[in-house]
Subunit: 304 residues, 2 copies
Amino acid sequence: MSRPAWPPRVTVVEVGPRDGLQNEASTIPIDARIRFVNELAAAGLPVVEAAAFVSPRWVPQMAGAEAVAAGITRRKGTIYRALVPNLKGLEAARRSAFTEIAIFAAASETFSQQNINRSIADSLAVYAEVCRGALDAGLRVRAYLSTAFGCPYEGLVPAARVAELSERLLGMGAFEVAVSDTIGIAHPGQVLDLLDVVAQRLPLARVALHFHDTRGMAIANVWAALSAGIATFDASAGGLGGCPYAPGAAGNLATEDLIYLLDGLGIAHGVSLDGVVAASRALAAHLDHPLPSRVYQAVQSSRR
Amino acid sequence: MSRPAWPPRVTVVEVGPRDGLQNEASTIPIDARIRFVNELAAAGLPVVEAAAFVSPRWVPQMAGAEAVAAGITRRKGTIYRALVPNLKGLEAARRSAFTEIAIFAAASETFSQQNINRSIADSLAVYAEVCRGALDAGLRVRAYLSTAFGCPYEGLVPAARVAELSERLLGMGAFEVAVSDTIGIAHPGQVLDLLDVVAQRLPLARVALHFHDTRGMAIANVWAALSAGIATFDASAGGLGGCPYAPGAAGNLATEDLIYLLDGLGIAHGVSLDGVVAASRALAAHLDHPLPSRVYQAVQSSRR
């Protein structure tokens, strides 16, 4: 059978300490969050999204971003990234010595209103300022585009809308847009369809994909995207970030599962699977449910 | 991007009542097993592997196959299948009015010895007799070839060996061979590689694939196999059949997750997802752990 032309190397972006923990019911102690970031960086993950400078009133799990940032042992070669919602967040991230930030826009109007309390247009106006400020200060900006494959309120989001908003985020100066399946609804056919449309507006080298494994499709979606040439994927150690009200429910694409796939395909990534599993194991002690990563579970049961 | 040529229709073979339950720590009451089979058939699954006529000394979870068979309401159009290890099992399956049986060979010598207590050669000699007896009596025979992607004792199993043994099983009169990833170790690149080799010896229309989701690759493996033209997949409602000693560990490819993928790709299958979820839900009450199917979990949490 014909083989897809996979990229020879993939960048795995670790979002467990931010997107993962943000969606957990448990609040994790600051020192455990610091250890988690340090172990993930030591495992060779090239980018670790380590914190979010957001209001602890809205996202209590992310409280103490300054303390987390101060506690991290910065490794040479690792990019530490922080999510910021506005200029105030940007300043806080700079004070905490982050050299890269992430902004978080939505492709669905209703989700934007519900999730970040602003219309898409208003959020883009704020992010344009944040991008200017960041670039002037020498920081790089990564943009998320959430609900790109579907919205819990609006259902399917038009691919043309995703392409247009992605282009605008890059136009503001973001080096990359992470097209995100926030509710874990995408299947691999949809991934190929969306990438077809997106590729008409921007180079796929500037597109990362961000999947949740809510319906078990995340690895198949990665496989499909690899065949389309995508070479940057977000993942969360242990598959952190499931719905806090559904024990055992899947969260973000698990870093361990992604590494297993890439190893099988012979795609380079530079990450130690054992190192990621060790980071997940240390964090798991603070959670009220088993980590959903299949590979993590398989490794754990082989240790019994 | 170029699209793989998916088959327009896929046959989903439900193995939950046999392979699924056989690997659960809990023993399920006979009436719950009967209800499970009836609900799966009512959900539109074209083939339900309902029982195994094996020694309850070796597989206590399958005890009472006669009672299960007697309790099932046979639906027109549903194929009910039973696993049999030998001629005695074949006779029992005939007495219980099964019109289709399954035999279970291994691609790894050590696994064959450990799992069915016979060398591969000895097992094939027995199965040749079973096939003759079944065909003479007008029953159809399906063959499993286990450990086709790897063995817990021997590691990787040569693809040429898998192709040769598959050909021999078809040569005995089996209408189909289910090439099986017994330990859930396959990744989609390996699936394509193995199918390349197998296709040199036999028509892929006579090959089914049987995946376990132990390392989260099952759906991606299906996607890869679909692109190679495979149109028959085994699955287990709820993802039953995880390791009994690892709570939350994945088992067989979940029927619900497979249906979600097929629906996304627009591939016909004739199965009601709601019906399968209902069958899983009724069975889950008898288990000591949450069902691992991601789609099942997503549906359950949306009901809260």
